[in-house]
């Protein structure tokens, strides 16, 4: 352990702003990317379901017309 106390650790020898800014934005961006990719995956599945439903409706309509 390079630091003697928690306060010491958070202070980062006076460079707290820079160090925590770096790590904060890094993890923020990575989490954001992960969340975005995850959500995109779900949205695509939803879109595919919606499209399948649309095709179903068209087919029903065509059968009724016959």
């Amino acid at each position: 352990m390079a630091f003697t106390s928690w306060a010491d650790f958070w202070a980062m020898g006076g460079y707290a702003l820079f160090v925590w800014l770096s790590f904060g934005t890094t993890y923020g961006l990575l989490l954001g990317l992960w969340w975005y990719s995850k959500r995109q995956h779900q949205q695509i599945q939803q879109q595919i379901r919606a499209k399948a439903a649309r095709e179903q409706r068209v087919r029903q309509h065509q059968e009724r017309e016959k």
Partner: protein, 254 residues
């Protein structure tokens, strides 16, 4: 010749197989990536000794260097995927280009932001036109160009091919850009401070760096798997297997 050499790869080029393969790997890769990244970073942040010159500010190295290295690594793998996709008309490789590009762009942005945050205490300004930072900035523009181009076509399959071509053009240009910027930098004598003046780095600092490096590599792989799955669904959505899969998932959820 080339065709037969890579025949053993054929099952992986089949979208359905690859989709399930990525799905199987994803949890392991993700867990492993998070574990190594946290291990490397916590070790680096809390346990390795402070630098005798830079104090504790040097700890930014544990993300700056890995993200900078993998921002270029991601570009190379994107360009390789683009090359395979275009030359052998392997569509999953083309989709991988779109999967990797945003990850690479985020890594590049991280390298730039952490570089600036490191520069402020070291050089006194947030930004210097240092050769490495400038190259990294250009790399970000190249990524943004690939992403913008791939989304600019009403026909997605077309956009992805054109973006792949741009990725290849970019990778041919990257070394030229890099050396030009370096030459320009020595000419203007801007920032001559190199961050790694020390020829050898103490093992107590090196190990967490290597572990963080591995962590970001694993994360790149994991995120690529996740995003490639989305791409496969988009481009294969007319196939029965995708329809079935999506229905199944919906039923499981509800």
């Amino acid at each position: 010749m080339w065709g037969s050499m890579f025949r053993w790869l054929d099952p992986y080029a089949k979208p359905e197989t690859l989709y399930h393969l990525c799905g199987r790997w994803l949890p392991y890769l993700m867990t492993l990536a998070i574990a190594t990244l946290l291990l490397g970073n916590i070790w680096g942040l809390a346990f390795s000794p402070p630098d005798y010159q830079q104090g504790d500010s040097y700890r930014i190295i544990y993300i700056h260097v890995p993200s900078a290295i993998w921002s270029m690594g991601a570009y190379s793998s994107m360009a390789i995927a683009a090359f395979i996709g275009l030359v052998w008309q392997i569509r999953v490789a083309q989709w991988a280009v779109l999967a990797i590009a945003p990850i690479g762009a985020v890594y590049t942005a991280i390298a730039l932001i952490t570089g600036a945050a490191w520069g402020k205490p070291m050089w006194g300004t947030w930004w210097v036109w240092d050769a490495r930072l400038t190259s990294e900035l250009v790399l970000l523009f190249l990524y943004l160009g690939v992403i913008a181009l791939s989304g600019a076509f009403s026909e997605a399959a077309r956009g992805i091919k054109v973006a792949s071509l741009l990725a290849i053009v970019g990778v041919v240009n990257l070394p030229i850009i890099h050396y030009s910027v370096e030459w320009w930098n020595t000419l203007h004598q801007g920032a001559t401070i190199t961050k790694f003046a020390k020829p050898s780095i103490d093992p107590s600092m090196l190990w967490p760096l290597l572990i963080s490096l591995l962590g970001l590599a694993l994360l790149l792989a994991a995120l690529t798997c996740l995003r490639l799955r989305s791409q496969i669904l988009i481009f294969e959505q007319h196939r029965p297997w995708v329809r079935q899969l999506v229905e199944q998932q919906h039923e499981e959820q509800s």
